[in-house]
Symmetry: C2
Subunit: 239 residues, 2 copies
DNA sequence: TAGCATTTGTGCGTATGTATG
DNA sequence: ACATACATACGCACAAATGCT
């Protein structure tokens, strides 16, 4: 708990309580310890603990009950498998009920250096860019920007908008199967765009993946940069 | 850039500049834009930008030069491959010169529920726990806690202390080869322990992996929880 | 050499946010 | 709810170092 660090004490404490809930430290009671206990544990005033709990309540993670304590509303982390056959929709599987994929924006444009490299295209070759938002149980789970080579996938944005699934949209373009050839995983603080689309608070963490998918012949067909709220998603790699 | 969020503006800006440096946005000049430009871009006072740059200078990422600008000293992130044959030392490869692994602590103790499950042991079976700190070029790269079944690996802590390598220590116990069978990746805010061991600032992000290694016969021999500073490390998965 | 534009470094006054008791 | 202390953010002004004309 460091002061004068640019991060308010109440937020540092909120982050630690959130982590403790996620790793099951309070599973026995299903409640957060009393405010006075937390205040003593963290070495701060009770006001400060209350500010932290208030923020977590705002996030929908806690529900305070007068005279009883502060209940934990269990929100498991979605576990997304990364494998040679990574698909968001299938990966979520039984973990959530209401799955949706929305098309936020799309455009045809010349490829940037990073995109043309990833897709093995000539510099500035034309590509289709689509911006998507995926949700599970009405909570934002990923904000993704994907690029596809043109003219092969001209019109794919419409196909995605109809189905809400990249796999289905690609199938409409004759791609029966595709494989994940590379995934880079990093983590950064949420940017203003994430806050709006995913409903996050400043200082929140987003996991960032940069992935390349290829068709069965090994030709890259999609390069995607996706951003996942780290408190709602984790990755599993089984090789 | 949201105010009154528990995260100081200068820290939010420092995080965005760090991310911009990491993704190569300023590679053309090798310098950060002038303070007045950054202030206008982010819509804040120049003092606030200076507080952000000062923090990054403290991290050793920037060097300001009066009359010239602010030079970028380090932008590369260590890329750690995750595969069936994941090894920290080999994974770093050519990316760093001085590699070291220090043994911080070790003890023999009964397995917790998570550990006994991961290692396929009976509840409370005896295990060896070792705490390690790995560094590359004198910068902390991972803080790791690993568990090994007993009595098979009794004395492994000493072997690790001598070599600074898990692979070498295991070989001393007759394990010529081992494979990574599972990796879970998530991200959280740094805890006080991370700040000290890895030299991080509050609010910093740590990537967390939970991994199981098994010997060639498929018997789990190691369960490890590792914490990596997200601004120094990223993962690559090639399947 | 002198002058000028650009850029980082510093000081001060004020308003708001954070943490305590 | 109030009072207090400190951190954060702003606006304005000016000093100091550098490169160019």
């Amino acid at each position: 708990m460091r002061r004068q660090s640019g991060v308010a004490l109440w937020r540092q404490i909120a982050d630690r309580i959130r982590a403790a809930i996620a790793d099951g430290s309070y599973d026995e009671t299903g409640m957060v310890p009393p405010e006075t206990v937390l205040a003593a544990d963290f070495g701060v005033n009770r006001h400060t603990v209350r500010a932290a709990l208030s923020a977590l309540t705002q996030e929908g993670m806690l529900r305070p009950v007068q005279g009883i304590g502060t209940l934990i509303l269990r929100r498991e982390r979605l576990s997304l498998p990364i494998s040679r056959r990574t698909r968001f929709t299938e990966g979520v599987g039984e973990q959530a009920r209401a799955l949706s994929g929305a098309l936020l924006d799309h455009a045809e444009e010349p490829a940037s250096a990073a995109v043309s490299t990833a897709l093995h295209l000539a510099p500035h070759a034309p590509v289709l860019r689509i911006e998507t938002l995926r949700s599970a149980d009405k909570r934002g789970m990923s904000r993704s920007t994907a690029w596809f080579p043109l003219p092969r996938f001209h019109g794919l944005a419409d196909a995605f908008a109809k189905s809400g699934s990249v796999t289905a949209a690609l199938r409409a373009f004759g791609v029966e199967d595709y494989v994940r050839v590379k995934t880079e995983i990093s983590a950064v603080h949420a940017e203003p765009g994430d806050l709006a689309d995913l409903g996050l608070a400043p200082g929140a963490i987003v996991l960032v993946t940069q992935a390349v998918n290829a068709d069965p012949e090994g030709m890259p067909i999609q390069f995607a940069v996706s951003r996942f709220p780290a408190d709602r998603v984790q990755f599993t790699v089984e090789v």
